[in-house]
Assembly symmetry: C3
Amino acid sequence: MIKDMKFSIFLLLLQVIFIFMYGFFVEYDEVAGPKTNQSSAEDNRQFEILYPMFQDVHVMIFVGFGFLMTFLKRYGYGAVGFNLLLAAFVIQWAILMRGSLTAESKIHLSVETIMNADFAAGAVLISFGAVLGVLSPIQLLVMALLEVAVYAVNEYIIVEHLHINDIGGSLIIHSFGAYFGLAVSVMHWKKRLVDNQKEESVYHSDMFAMIGTLFLWLFWPSFNGALAASHSVVAQRCVTNTLYSIVASTIASFAISSIIDKKGKLSMVHVQNSSLAGGVAAGAVANLATGPMGALLIGTCAGIISVAGYKYVTPTFARAFHIHDTCGVHNLHGMPGVMSAFIAVVMARFMSPTTFSPEELAIVYPNVKDGNFQHQANMQMAGLAVTLGTSIVGGVLTGLVLRAPFIDSADENNLFEDSKYWITDESDRDSPEPMNETAIPLAPSNGETVAEE
Amino acid sequence: MIKDMKFSIFLLLLQVIFIFMYGFFVEYDEVAGPKTNQSSAEDNRQFEILYPMFQDVHVMIFVGFGFLMTFLKRYGYGAVGFNLLLAAFVIQWAILMRGSLTAESKIHLSVETIMNADFAAGAVLISFGAVLGVLSPIQLLVMALLEVAVYAVNEYIIVEHLHINDIGGSLIIHSFGAYFGLAVSVMHWKKRLVDNQKEESVYHSDMFAMIGTLFLWLFWPSFNGALAASHSVVAQRCVTNTLYSIVASTIASFAISSIIDKKGKLSMVHVQNSSLAGGVAAGAVANLATGPMGALLIGTCAGIISVAGYKYVTPTFARAFHIHDTCGVHNLHGMPGVMSAFIAVVMARFMSPTTFSPEELAIVYPNVKDGNFQHQANMQMAGLAVTLGTSIVGGVLTGLVLRAPFIDSADENNLFEDSKYWITDESDRDSPEPMNETAIPLAPSNGETVAEE
Amino acid sequence: MIKDMKFSIFLLLLQVIFIFMYGFFVEYDEVAGPKTNQSSAEDNRQFEILYPMFQDVHVMIFVGFGFLMTFLKRYGYGAVGFNLLLAAFVIQWAILMRGSLTAESKIHLSVETIMNADFAAGAVLISFGAVLGVLSPIQLLVMALLEVAVYAVNEYIIVEHLHINDIGGSLIIHSFGAYFGLAVSVMHWKKRLVDNQKEESVYHSDMFAMIGTLFLWLFWPSFNGALAASHSVVAQRCVTNTLYSIVASTIASFAISSIIDKKGKLSMVHVQNSSLAGGVAAGAVANLATGPMGALLIGTCAGIISVAGYKYVTPTFARAFHIHDTCGVHNLHGMPGVMSAFIAVVMARFMSPTTFSPEELAIVYPNVKDGNFQHQANMQMAGLAVTLGTSIVGGVLTGLVLRAPFIDSADENNLFEDSKYWITDESDRDSPEPMNETAIPLAPSNGETVAEE
């Protein structure tokens, strides 16, 4: 009985703590506060331009990530449900964690800080993708709790101290989330993760996943441009670069997906995921002068790398290193994120002082003094190293904590399976006799295996 | 024959009347009119800030409400289809009804008036949720016709005369829609509404419903903030408060959903609906100074109340009072709406004159003179009373009208069932012989061809 | 082997060519460029107002069109997948084609030019709808390649030379795309296109299609208003007119759908498609002074025409002219588009010089000199003629090219079928033995009560 209530009690306890912490530490930012007179025209504009982009990001986090993970045939409730739970949890927690590192008095709450909390949720959800269907709900909550703390520290170091440029979060969000998740995953290797028939999609679950893919695809330009929202020229360049990069990765994903299949068929896994790799790969360079051709090149490479990752790297990771990666986040967020980080290093190093107008340079590289771009390149490199270090070490330690006996783990028989945590049919309900549904077949792919194939 | 055409004839007749009424009574607002010179910068900004928020609300009404109601396994077409029909119908009708009460010359059409019509559609769709699968299409149309009239009167009284503050429509939209729908429902009690096996979800229908949930969840801050759009500080506070309230209700819903299940399992009903209760509960107080902690507290309580409502109140209502509530709108809109109204009373009563800057006070409580907050509190209380009164009386009378013999009612055998009103399989089509689909089991409707058709 | 790789090689080759062409011919527009100082307030506003509308259009192209076409029971991957591929392909290609006709130096890249490329993608996707499930992927790519070239020429002639007013693209996008697609279709008539059992929907596929319908429905006002975004009064009129037109076509579609069915049942085909006809029909007149009543009338007529088209025209086209039209684009885009064009002719002809303020007149009809509206009407008529001419001739020629032997065509046995081009089940995968799925019913709720629970 108590065992079944552990999840609830833990969650409620944390929520009560959050409520008190918000009482003590958080207040409205001036731009949302009751004592503010209608702010100046410039303040108004901030909200007006930021809010639609925030909502785009918000849709990505909840609909995009949530539905992208519904591809598993029996873990749809868990995918979209725990996605909602974790993101709601992290939004609260990340405000506290991030704010505690930077706030001089109380932590301020505004659309901008909430959007930054959404980004933190993005990182946690990427990690969730690596262990989708493997960890129990309570393990997921503990993971989110610990991951956000490490995330905030990593972000603080590389943004506030190293002053790296990472407008779309290729390091901060994507690389961090992916390697953290993989490190957790390696600590939770199970034999039955191999060739588990439940770790498969069916026709309809792949259609649901496409909802996630498309909303991520569409709003990725907002994701990479939102932090530059107040500078419309920079924001528009972020949007343009990201859109061209993701377009190119889509083309590349289709082409490579077909070419590596022996019958030349396309794989929904690649279409759902690798199509998005261009968005990740543009992350650290979206505000730079890649040029339209550069954006297309970056996206094309990202798409190729990502499909190749699904085909060759993920199975190898599982076999050779016992790193299971349900959604293949290494291929969508890990490798393209690191690739973006490297391109950012190279672009900083070979920066021409005349590429940017002085005003734009001050926005993109605010800490470059006297044209010392070598230093910026060094810092970009250091930022990648710190991100990989904190995410892998943090992930391994978190993975160890999750093995603590009082944290219920998932049953090996219930991997990739909703029925352990969700009321999925009549037998779970309080009604005495289950409805006989065997006479009513339910979904198309059932047995409709086309014989002539 | 004529009987089958009654729905169409009624609908076309109303549409012809609408077209004429628009010809006589409606014209473009100056901000959209052909004779306006490009309006001043301030006018421009109005459209620029309002339009994205309007589109968020618009998505909630059509995708949010529409898909949220697709959870029933055999009423998906009806849920999303009649939702579209009713909302399109109400947008036209509400402009006329609302305008007729306030317009001094012709009724003006702009994005702002359309958004207010969307809100009226929201109330009707909430009522639709209470009787989902129970009323026939023609009954739904008549209900919408009558409900909008009562809605407009209630709104007129409590906004124009009582001057209550209800920025997110907790009274005007949510409480009104819920109690109106429940009052209609009680007049249409049927024995076969109890333990009807068709009133259930299946795996995929619950996934479709989550599309609705998530778009409602994401855009609720816009719903509660849209009417304050032109004051960015107030709008941002509305957004922030609503987002924190809905985040908290999500956490509470998961926790309580699990704790009340004997095996500790989560229920999709709670996740789909109660997660949203914080949005409703924030409605009447979103622009006030609840503070971040206050918003979290409100949302947490709303989530708890809502889950408890699904577990205990809805079955009791059905058993003891013969009030059937298909979607549980009482738990998502009714109780959280009333709760919000009460909090608004308390907050008005114990208002400190120094909480708000004078400028903000004039926006939030424009009718408070000389710091007489007691009067505002009285009016807030009166507003709740008027809303409950008009909605319940209006709903009962509407329910009676819907029992008129010339308004075709739904067959008891076709409750929660698309096949009566929609072409759902081959046997319905004009082709001479139905396709033999037994070899290809495809979808819920397959084979469930109701024999008596 | 090489045969299976033809699609990939062709796609990669084109992508490499695109990358080089972008290197030589395309650069950031000043409003997104690295050398621009933070642009003037007016430039900022352009981006701020345009970007949310652009994202609405973007959602329509990828989610709207993509999911609308998922209604076929076995072509869901193809619908949403090839939609993504084609749109991503066209965005790149249309920038080059359109720019090559107008750019004086390099082609400029900004959100505005990308949105115009999205519109070109819209036309291609309409044509795709006509041949959905009929052409092979490589045929679709070649079609897109050729269609965009013809599209750009048609647009150039009727906008730059005839100076027609077509703010929502009823001629440029809808009529063009529909008749181009039908002309391609007539060149690819196959006997097995008649009464093909695979060309049907199932319950769930119709639900997926409604996702597309709703997002198209919701954002159509943005589609018709986006090009007027910088003039908020005109934009708001476009939005209002379009919304009222689409609302009216929805009502009409429901009414007529029921009235033409012998049992009075509603058809999802009509609800999914004809509901949208008002958006198309408003396209060429959305910025004019139709008045609210006019908008309702236009939408009502469009809805009636569209449903009648599905019932009578499409079967006749197939039987009598061997024009197969999978999605019925003739009924949603063709006829309503032509209707809109005719209304635009009449409205220009009977224009009163006092209808518009001088400033608005200069925006709506910039080339009308000295009140010569007859000339504008002539040009509108000529624009329709040119559009029909280029689309039909272009489509027929494209259809002929697609019959070239080195362009693999679809197998007659694989019409409306994903399994030829997509990995759809275990037998396609590299694993030695296909998973026996008969023992594992698909939707978790299906009686798969886990025994050990």
